[in-house]
């Protein structure tokens, strides 16, 4: 071949390589998601759902406040005091309507319980006997809360975790709350950013897992020095310890984390407990900031074993900020969704969707990250996310909130942030070395993600089209059917921003079914119960959790969309006690209250 011809061919080939990103972008259709908001009827007809934000109209007027910590941190305060907006759902008064609890983190500010009146409106339950959280410099400030009936009296109690003294509120028959933390025997101080209820030993009493973020010896209002930052952006192990409180049944708890093998000082931000191996015992998944996620297999309630690497999830450290479970392929097993950071041209961690590898189970269980393949990988600086069938088409969708610090729109902190985070341990771990933020944004004003599962292995991002248009700094998100109509609404807690209630309108021809479970031998909240639904040659599994996502808890009621199917073949319930119950052909478009037989 003549050299001139060869050279021309090489140049064309090189230009083709340079053009490849444009071609891939064009065919991937990412731009479509950025379409401007369509009207509700278009969204309904196209995707089967439409959201309308209605917090104020429903009586939820709540704005999160951030704490003012030690002034040594003033120069980077927005990124330190960047968490604490949280939401958790429960029917605290057993009136059949799902209620909302929102946390604030400002000293002197109250957490607020919003009681669902059942007519589309909520009323604010104020006062200390309504679990106000005691947010103060002396007691610390709230980071989140989880509901669980720890004394099996039929009413959901509330654990509020803080950067400070943990609070346990006993639910006094739905008529108020009394403080039970002192009697419970919790430590004086935990800098916690996550907690969940689960019955790890299946003794019928809910136990409590609390995950530390900052070292529990640190008082963020009175720092001895500024060496309290992570020692690495990806391999930090100088965070808070983990606590596992075993419920002794008399209002007291015994701390057994070390004894049972839950040893970690990674910077935990999210956790979820779910039986991944099908042996009845809930395993524990922890999403860590500044490092790899951890998975602890529960060996018969007697020991926890960290199996992150063994199962494939313990490599590639990222910035885990949510842990949610969903049966994304309707094949009867759980995928785990973990949110991370993605910022164009700066840091593309990508979110993880850990899906059990086909053919593996039990001790040999392996996971593959299919977030990219399924299209749920890039969510900005992602925080809370939850699975739920938002359009009742029979497949689990994902709602994700994002955005870290929205300040000056025209100036960002990324350069200075990346400068320090890449540095040596001695530099990154000292807050003094971090350049001042000076009101600059860091991944702020981000568009949220609503990923609709098409059931054929792809999720489609439709947030702007279906009416989710806010750009607040979202942290915590929880799903619940607030008017018992078979539609999952969404509550979002925003950092230093207003709480949002996105009311959902779903295509009326899609059917649904829901199950409100109550344990008897098992813990009364039925946390850990699995429901397998069989319909129209499909199956889907869901599990009642005592907390999931980021500092959040969905309604305990399990909601299944059915698509156009007019009937359900059967439902199999496996209670935490191990008992099973089968309901044949349950009525659809109905909430079924099921007690453990």
């Amino acid at each position: 071949m003549q050299s001139r011809t060869l050279r021309i061919i090489l140049i064309i080939f090189f230009i083709g390589l340079l053009a490849t990103p444009f071609v891939i972008r064009r065919f991937s259709g990412r731009k479509e998601a950025a379409a401007t908001a369509a009207n509700a009827s278009t969204a309904l007809s196209r995707y089967g759902l439409s959201f309308k934000e209605a917090a104020n109209a429903s009586g939820i007027n709540f704005t999160h406040a951030a704490p003012k910590l030690d002034q040594k941190l003033d120069h980077i305060m927005p990124q330190i005091a960047s968490m604490g907006a949280a939401v958790s759902i429960a029917d605290f008064d057993r009136d059949g309507w799902q209620d909302v609890y929102l946390t604030s983190s400002g000293e002197g500010k109250s957490n607020i319980l919003f009681r669902n009146l059942g007519n589309g409106r909520f009323s604010e339950m104020t006062g200390d006997h309504w679990a106000s959280g005691e947010n103060s410099r002396e007691h610390g400030v709230s980071m989140g809360a989880v509901w669980g009936d720890y004394d099996n009296d039929g009413y959901e109690d509330l654990f509020v975790y803080k950067w400070g003294k943990p609070e346990l509120y006993h639910n006094d028959g739905g008529k108020g709350f009394s403080r039970a933390g002192e009697q419970a025997g919790f430590p004086e101080w935990i800098n916690a950013n996550n907690a969940l209820w689960f019955d790890y030993d299946r003794d019928g009493r809910l136990d409590l897992f609390v995950a530390g973020y900052y070292d529990e010896k640190i008082d963020l209002w009175n720092l001895k020095d500024t060496k309290m930052m992570p020692e690495s952006f990806e391999y930090a192990q100088n965070g808070g310890r983990k606590f596992l409180f075993h419920n002794l049944g008399n209002g007291k708890f015994e701390e057994v984390a070390e004894q049972l093998g839950v040893r970690s000082r990674r910077w935990a931000l999210a956790a979820v407990a779910v039986d991944l191996r099908g042996n009845g015992y809930p395993d524990l998944f922890i999403a860590n900031d500044y490092g790899v996620s951890e998975l602890f297999f529960n060996d018969g309630g007697k020991k926890f074993r960290e199996v992150g690497r063994q199962t494939g999830i313990g490599f590639a450290p990222k910035s885990g900020m949510t842990a949610a479970i969903g049966d994304v392929f309707n094949r009867g097993d759980f995928a785990i969704y973990v949110s991370n950071i993605s910022e164009e041209s700066v840091l593309i961690q990508g979110n993880n969707l850990w899906v059990p590898r086909a053919g593996t189970s039990g001790e040999g269980l392996k996971f593959d990250n299919l977030a990219r393949d399924l299209g749920v990988e890039l969510g900005g600086w992602s925080w809370g996310a939850q699975f739920g069938d938002l359009n009742n088409d029979g497949y689990q969708d994902i709602y994700l909130v994002n955005g870290y610090i929205s300040a000056d729109r025209n100036r960002n902190y990324w350069y200075d942030y990346s400068k320090v985070t890449g540095g040596n341990k001695a530099i990154i771990s000292d807050a003094n070395n971090w350049p001042p933020m000076n009101n600059r944004s860091l991944s702020g004003y981000q568009q949220k993600k609503v990923w609709i599962n098409d059931g054929a292995g792809q999720f489609k991002e439709v947030a702007q089209i279906v009416g989710v248009t806010d750009v607040y700094d979202g942290r915590s998100v929880a799903l619940a059917d607030f008017n018992n109509s078979g539609r999952l609404d969404v509550v979002v807690a925003n950092q230093k921003g207003p709480a949002l209630l996105y009311k959902n309108t779903v295509a009326p021809d899609n059917n649904w079914i829901a199950f409100e479970l109550e344990g008897s031998t098992s813990n009364r909240s039925a946390i850990g119960a699995q429901v397998r639904l069989f319909w129209n040659s499909q199956r889907q599994v869901q599990e009642v959790t005592g907390g999931s996502g980021f500092c959040a808890q969905n309604q305990r009621r399990l909601h299944f969309g059915l698509g156009k199917a007019a009937s359900v073949d059967r439902v199999e319930i496996r209670w935490p006690s191990g008992k099973t119950q089968t309901i044949s052909a349950p009525e659809i478009n109905k909430i079924h209250n099921v007690k453990e037989a």
């Binding site: 390589l17 340079l18 041209s345 593309i348 961690q349 990508g350 890449g422 540095g423 990154i428």
Partner: protein, 293 residues
């Protein structure tokens, strides 16, 4: 007569001239660690990768790194055969692939393959006076940072931000670059960076530690040992090599003051080829005028 392809990166360090070679027979060990051993740098970078992966899990995944290496080597074979009529030595392509595998951060697979492909192809396409101007992997990374920012990035955090692994890599890297007579480039750049960090600290008010932080990270270990020392894309005289290393650091400082996150890559991409081009131009001017036109 076809050109003998020696590759591009540090593995292709020029062999010693006869006067430099010691007369007495070398032992197997000294032969192994000799300057002529073009496999020494690939082995070093492989060791770094394996230690980093096994101890910290630094890679996005082995599969992505394998893809980057595979594409680089296959394309080198194909293009070398096509352009020069013979299969080239693959040590250089291996280093390119492994550098891409470590430096590229993307959850997708295609950026790894594309980055390697652009790197290798650039060596054969962007040439002047029979020399290629850009360090291949540096150019490819800069191109993709500009063209695919939505899925492509580089990350400077590996090895756990701990001192001991960093010292090991710095020591090994220094020994290797010293053996292949490129240490002066690395040293000049590092000293320049430190001085500029001091200056930036005064200008920004962020202090020396914040400004010096980047070079304590692992990305710089690859940058200073494997990228700026690339024999094929550096100028020949030692003093000029030092000058170029200083200018790269100076350009980086300018970019850093403009808050450019990927400043070192862009600085090398701007300064490196300019220096080579000037050298080529000067060399051409010095040639005897009697040469056939």
């Amino acid at each position: 007569m076809p050109e003998i392809i020696t590759g591009s990166e540090i593995s292709a360090a020029p062999p010693l001239q006869p006067k430099d070679v010691k007369a007495k027979p070398a032992s197997a060990l000294s032969r192994f660690f000799s300057i002529e051993n073009r496999y020494l740098p690939p082995m070093l970078i492989t060791t770094i990768l394996l230690v980093g992966q096994l101890s910290f899990g630094l890679l996005e995944s082995f599969k992505q790194t394998a893809l980057a290496i595979g594409v680089a080597m296959l394309l080198e074979l194909a293009l070398g055969r096509l352009v020069y009529g013979k299969f080239p030595n693959l040590a250089s392509a291996y280093i390119t692939g492994i550098s891409v595998g470590i430096l590229v951060r993307s959850p997708a697979f295609w950026p790894f393959a594309l980055c390697s492909a652009i790197a290798i192809t650039s060596k054969y396409v962007i040439r002047w006076k029979d020399r290629h101007l850009w360090n291949p992997s540096n150019l490819a990374i800069c191109v993709l940072l500009l063209l695919a920012p939505d899925v492509f990035s580089t990350l400077s955090i590996q090895w756990g931000n701990n001192l001991p692994p960093m010292l090991i890599v710095w020591t090994l890297g220094a020994l290797i670059t010293w053996r292949v007579k490129r240490f002066h480039i690395t040293a000049t750049y590092v000293v320049s960076f430190l001085l500029f960090a001091l200056l930036r600290g005064f200008i920004t008010g962020h202090g020396f530690q914040a400004e010096v932080a980047p070079i304590t990270g692992p990305m710089y270990q690859l940058f200073i040992f494997f990228m700026i020392t690339d024999p094929k894309t550096t100028v020949k005289p030692r003093w000029a090599q030092c000058l170029v290393a200083f200018l790269v650091a100076a350009m980086e400082m300018v970019l850093r003051l403009a808050e450019n996150i990927h400043a070192p890559y862009y600085a090398l991409t701007i300064v490196g080829p300019l220096a080579v081009a000037i050298e080529i131009w000067i060399t051409a001017r010095k040639r005897p005028s009697a040469q056939p036109v």
